[in-house]
């Protein structure tokens, strides 16, 4: 059965400790020690996901929608295996790639070319693999003339291009997209969109997080609507997005 499943959430619950006393710093801790002891004893927790279960089939594109704080990022973090659930289990089958925020995994003082290597390796490629794909990456980014410049001289659009170009030359089986297509100019966004569609055609499982129901409807087969840490709806992208939009307006 796991042959056809890419991601499986089984009754996943994830808490965050709210305002961990330690993150206040030592001074606060010392000054309020009795209060903190009490505080830690009852550990106020914030429930980011509550009893969430779903399955994503291999090759499926699934949208994740919901308001801020509904648990979308937590879900992505659990899939990327940077977070662990408190209860339940998260299973993934296949190599995972995440697209990073603008400029993450880059160093401003390094040149564009150096940053392609840095970013590519941080995202899981070996140096050899980056080298093999280097020309393609550069061509895709259309930044041939700026490769030797430190990227602190780049505009944010150019940095986004470079980051995206590296990321789409990874070889993922599961791709996590977090609100990324909104950067860069229209033409480049179109190009990225095409590239992601070709991933889809190759059978890559895609999880697409977005605030925009339109994007999800146009791109995904199914959608999950998260509300307050629970699955409000799951099903056909259009149906779920329509319902989501209704509650947004009403």
């Amino acid at each position: 059965m796991s042959d056809t499943i890419a991601i499986r959430f089984n009754q996943v619950t994830k808490y965050y400790r709210r305002n961990t006393s330690l993150s206040f710093g030592l001074k606060h801790l010392m000054l309020n020690l009795p209060k903190h002891m009490e505080h830690m004893a009852q550990t106020k927790r914030f429930c980011a996901l509550k009893d969430v279960s779903f399955e994503v089939r291999r090759g499926e594109s699934i949208g994740l929608i919901g308001r801020n704080g509904s648990g979308k990022s937590t879900t992505l973090g659990l899939i990327a295996n940077v977070l662990r659930p408190n209860e339940g289990s998260v299973k993934t089958f296949g190599r995972i790639s995440s697209l990073l925020e603008l400029g993450a995994g880059f160093h401003p003082e390094l040149s564009g070319a150096e940053n392609i290597f840095l970013n590519g390796i941080l995202l899981g490629m070996t140096r050899r693999q980056v080298k093999e794909r280097f020309r393609e990456i550069v061509e895709f980014s259309e930044l041939e003339n700026f490769l030797e410049q430190p990227i602190r001289t780049y505009s944010s659009g150019m940095i986004a291009r470079l980051g995206f170009s590296v990321a789409v030359h990874l070889d993922p089986e599961i791709l996590l997209l977090d609100e990324v297509l909104t950067v860069g100019d229209m033409a480049f966004a179109e190009k990225c969109f095409k590239r992601i569609k070709s991933f889809r055609e190759k059978g890559v499982t895609i999880m697409f997080v977005s605030h925009s129901p339109e994007m999800v409807t146009s791109f995904c087969d199914r959608a999950i609507w998260l509300n307050g840490g629970t699955v409000a709806r799951i099903g056909d992208a259009k149906t779920v997005c329509d319902e989501y939009q209704k509650t947004m307006v009403g």
């Binding site: 030592l26 995994g105 003082e109 290597f117 840095l118």
Partner: protein
């Protein structure tokens, strides 16, 4: 042999080692390139900086306090270069994880490489400054001995393990208690004065002689100095340094591994 990676990705051992090497090297290369970027003197700083410290200590302790140590400048240089590498790594490690929060929140990778690359960067600078120390030695009429062939690699290894272990603890600890970042610069300074670098271990009162075996860094510092001053090595201290380093590395790595999965929540 297969290593079951995070994300259920199954990599061969060879692919894993190749990747691990590439990750460490690319991060090291970044650190190396970035350190003196846009400075006029560039690499010269990594020699000049400890040298300037040595000159300050020379002035304070030789000229003012009239300390009774022969060849005091060479004496200082033999310890201060090592210490700079060690303390730079430890102090810089507090931001190794925090400074890469956007990565840590999104991707799972061997994050210890973030710390390791910083440590290797300082170690590389230290290795590159050994010829300068040798030049100063020659100036004082001394030369490297055959002992160097085994003692230099040994001390470098021990130094790497100790520094990496402590740096891992600091980098990890700072995620959970940000005060560590402020505290560590003070602690490192305190540690400097507790280690025989500007004074000789024989100057420590008899009742406190045991401290050099309890101080994990003393064995390394003392033996580097003996080496650079053409004096016989202290085997007992080499042993204690080796044991301490292995233990601290193991502890640091264990702490890191134990809390690694919480990083994304705290960073």
């Amino acid at each position: 042999m297969n290593i079951k990676m995070r994300n259920g990705k199954s990599w061969g051992m060879a692919r894993f080692l190749e990747y691990y090497r590439d990750l460490t090297l690319v991060l090291l290369q970044k650190e190396f390139t970035v350190r003196y970027k846009n400075t006029a003197l560039g690499y010269v700083w990594s020699v000049l900086n400890p040298l300037l410290y040595a000159i300050i200590y020379l002035f304070v302790f030789k000229v003012i306090f009239k300390i009774q140590i022969q060849n005091y400048l060479l004496f200082l240089v033999s310890g201060v270069f090592f210490w700079q590498a060690f303390s730079n790594s430890v102090c810089a490690s507090s931001s190794a994880f925090i400074g890469n929060s956007s990565l840590i929140k999104k991707v799972q990778f061997s994050r210890e490489c973030l710390v390791l690359s910083g440590v290797l960067n300082d170690l590389t600078h230290f290795i590159l400054s050994i010829p300068i120390i040798v030049i100063i030695m020659v100036f004082y009429g001394m030369a490297p001995t055959l002992d160097w062939l085994w003692a230099v690699p040994f001390l470098l290894t021990v130094q790497l393990l100790l520094t990496f272990g402590i740096a891992l603890m600091v980098a990890t600890g700072n995620l959970f208690l940000r005060d560590l970042e402020r505290l560590i610069t003070f602690l490192v300074m305190l540690w400097f004065y507790l280690t025989p670098i500007i004074y000789k271990e024989d100057m420590v009162p008899a009742a406190l002689q045991w401290t050099k075996f309890v101080n994990p860094v003393a064995g390394i510092a003392i033996n580097w100095r003996h080496l650079f001053m053409g004096e016989p090595l202290a085997p007992l201290l080499l042993g204690s340094a080796g044991v301490w380093s292995a233990a601290i590395f193991a502890l640091g790595y264990w702490i890191y591994k134990k809390s690694n999965w919480k990083f994304a929540e705290y960073v």
